[in-house]
């Protein structure tokens, strides 16, 4: 046997010998516990048991208000089932008592919380479906959010009215009075706001922008140039709120208002003016401000 082979025999024996001496970390589980671990997912888990959330006891103590609001937020976000009993995971085998989450929310945290906060929105815009008039205006809303999803909002819209080219043409060429066509001067109303959609966008893969998408429905009164003047109005809206920081956001709103009104008769009209339905589609964009300051997160 060459020296080389002799050396590898000795080296191999040494490795085998040391491997016998080596030992794993001390085990505290007996065979029964190992069987329990293997059966973790085979065992039917009790429904009452819920996994503990954030059990770390070292969290800095919070005020009652903070704790309350955070708890409310947590419930609002996750709607976790019954409060967990005082069950701690002391040993590895305790894991087999855990049950799956009864509900897992897709998104757990919000960058711009709205719960129990007011929102003031001011934006400029225009009516997008008026062929005869160019209606530019200002929209001002004051809202209060009961939860992240629901709120109420007072809304005020004030529009200017200038004739488009077609209105001048129908006056000059066809001798009509377009100023007597129904147009909206202002709208004041109240809405229930539902914001079921929350998400985030990346702008060219550089910045993250959280946003809400909401739907609103309500009613109010519109000031028009009709015989009635002010008329009751239905309102439905949709929009998105893009968070800039925790108190300010960019918002667009697309609103549909519908009302019935009777136009003032044109000088060429032969019959009695009839009451008809009229619709406005108003697009506005501007900024929202939220207050008071968010108390949680």
């Amino acid at each position: 046997m060459s020296f080389k082979k002799l050396y590898f025999v000795i080296l191999s024996c040494g490795i085998v010998g040391f491997s016998f001496l080596a030992q794993a970390q001390e085990q505290q589980l007996d065979d029964q516990e190992i069987l329990n671990i293997e059966n973790i997912y085979k065992t039917e888990t009790p429904k009452a048991m819920q996994p503990r959330q954030a059990p770390a006891p070292e969290i800095v103590p919070k005020s009652a208000a903070e704790t309350s609001s955070e708890t409310a937020e947590s419930e609002n976000q996750t709607a976790v089932a019954p409060a967990p009993k005082n069950q701690r995971v002391e040993n590895l085998t305790d894991l087999n008592k855990l049950s799956p989450f009864s509900e897992i929310s897709v998104i757990q945290k919000k960058f711009l919380p709205k719960t129990e906060r007011f929102q003031i929105y001011a934006g400029g815009g225009t009516t997008t479906n008026s062929p005869w008039f160019l209606n530019m205006g200002l929209k001002v809303n004051l809202g209060y959010h009961f939860t992240e999803s629901f709120g109420v909002e007072l809304s005020g819209l004030f529009l200017s009215n200038s004739e488009r080219e077609v209105a001048k043409e129908i006056r000059d060429n066809n001798l009509l009075q377009p100023e007597k066509f129904i147009n909206t001067k202002s709208y004041v109303g109240v809405d229930l706001v539902w914001a079921p959609i929350y998400g985030k966008l990346t702008m060219l893969n550089k910045h993250i922008i959280p946003f809400d998408m909401y739907f609103s429905a309500g009613g109010g009164t519109s000031s028009t140039n009709s015989q009635e003047g002010s008329v009751p109005t239905l309102h439905v809206g949709v929009g998105q709120i893009f968070a800039i920081n925790k108190s300010m956001a960019f918002r667009w709103d697309y609103s549909w208002t519908s009302f019935q009104a009777t136009p003032i008769p044109d000088k060429l009209a032969t019959g009695v003016a009839e009451k008809n339905s009229y619709n406005d589609l108003i697009l506005t964009a501007g900024f929202s401000f939220f207050f008071p300051e968010a108390r949680y997160r």
């Binding site: 060459s2 020296f3 080389k4 050396y7 080296l11 040494g14 490795i15 040391f18 976000q77 929310s105 897709v106 998104i107 997008t128 479906n129 008026s130 062929p131 005869w132 080219e165 077609v166 043409e169 129908i170 000059d172 060429n173 066809n174 001798l175 009509l176 079921p196 959609i197 929350y198 998400g199 985030k200 966008l201 990346t202 702008m203 060219l204 893969n205 550089k206 910045h207 993250i208 922008i209 946003f211 998408m213 044109d266 060429l268 009209a269 032969t270 019959g271 008809n276 589609l281 697009l283």
Partner: protein, 250 residues
């Protein structure tokens, strides 16, 4: 030949591994630990590592319906087809074809009923064909009542093409903003708000529209002679269009 250096090296490795041990804990005074959280600042931040909707170098086709919201006379509804090629995640080009409905708008029907003005005599738009460009500025995801996730994309659009009236074709320009909502990796709902600008005939031609049914300003109730489409003068026209469609990405 046996290399004595290798032998020595392997032997040392064995001995070092035997005597190796974990580092001992180092006691650090609490007041020397960091007291504040500092967010890292990256030179080249990337917000999104892995997109769910991988639309780079893909095609999509779609159908849509729309309304010409500020059209005073012609029927405001239309339907069309759209075909897009996504150059990358930020840019796409495509073709947009829309067929306009025949008939009159609600306002024009009212003008005929109340004043005997028959705007059916005026030329009307038949269809439009546009080359469309989308700048996909925003991409993201949204939670729908916390029960599911869908992706969305916000984009600016610009289109160049032509609008075909019954008697003549005019070049057209359209700019707008749109948003896609992806139901899956292939299907999406697409909403576009576009502002069209193009030359168009003016339908309010004097002495050409009265059908004789309302003699108030027309003693004798004589109808105006039916004008030719070419006799209507033209001007630059702006129209707001709202389009909603379904697209398939592949």
């Amino acid at each position: 030949m046996f290399d004595i250096a290798k032998t020595f090296f392997f032997t040392m490795v064995i001995f070092v591994s035997v005597f190796a041990q974990a580092a001992t804990d180092v006691e650090v005074p609490v007041d020397e630990l960091a007291q504040e959280t500092v967010y890292p600042v990256f030179d080249n931040s990337v917000s999104l590592k892995n997109r769910n909707i991988k639309d780079s170098e893909t095609f999509d086709i779609g159908i849509f319906g729309g309304l010409a919201l500020t059209e005073p006379i012609s029927n405001t509804s239309k339907a069309g087809l759209v075909f897009n090629y996504h150059l990358n995640e930020n840019h796409s080009i495509g073709l947009l074809f829309a067929k306009n409905s025949n008939g009159l708008s609600a306002d024009a029907q009212g003008l005929k009923k109340d004043f005997g003005l028959d705007f059916g005599r005026a030329p009307y738009m038949e269809y439009s064909l546009m080359a469309d460009y989308n700048f996909k500025l925003y991409y993201g995801k949204l939670s729908l009542t916390k029960d599911g996730v869908m992706n969305t994309s916000l984009y600016l659009s610009g289109a160049l093409g032509a609008v075909k009236f019954v008697h003549k074709t005019y070049p057209a320009l359209a700019v707008g903003v749109g948003e896609r909502f992806y139901f899956s990796k292939h299907f999406s709902l697409k909403v576009d708000l576009r502002f069209y600008a193009h030359q168009a005939p003016i339908p309010f031609k004097a002495g050409a529209l009265r059908d004789g049914s309302k003699p108030t300003d027309n003693p004798g109730g004589v109808a105006d002679p039916v004008p030719s489409y070419g006799s209507f003068s033209e001007r630059l026209t702006y129209t707001t269009n709202l389009e909603i469609g379904l697209n398939y990405l592949f």
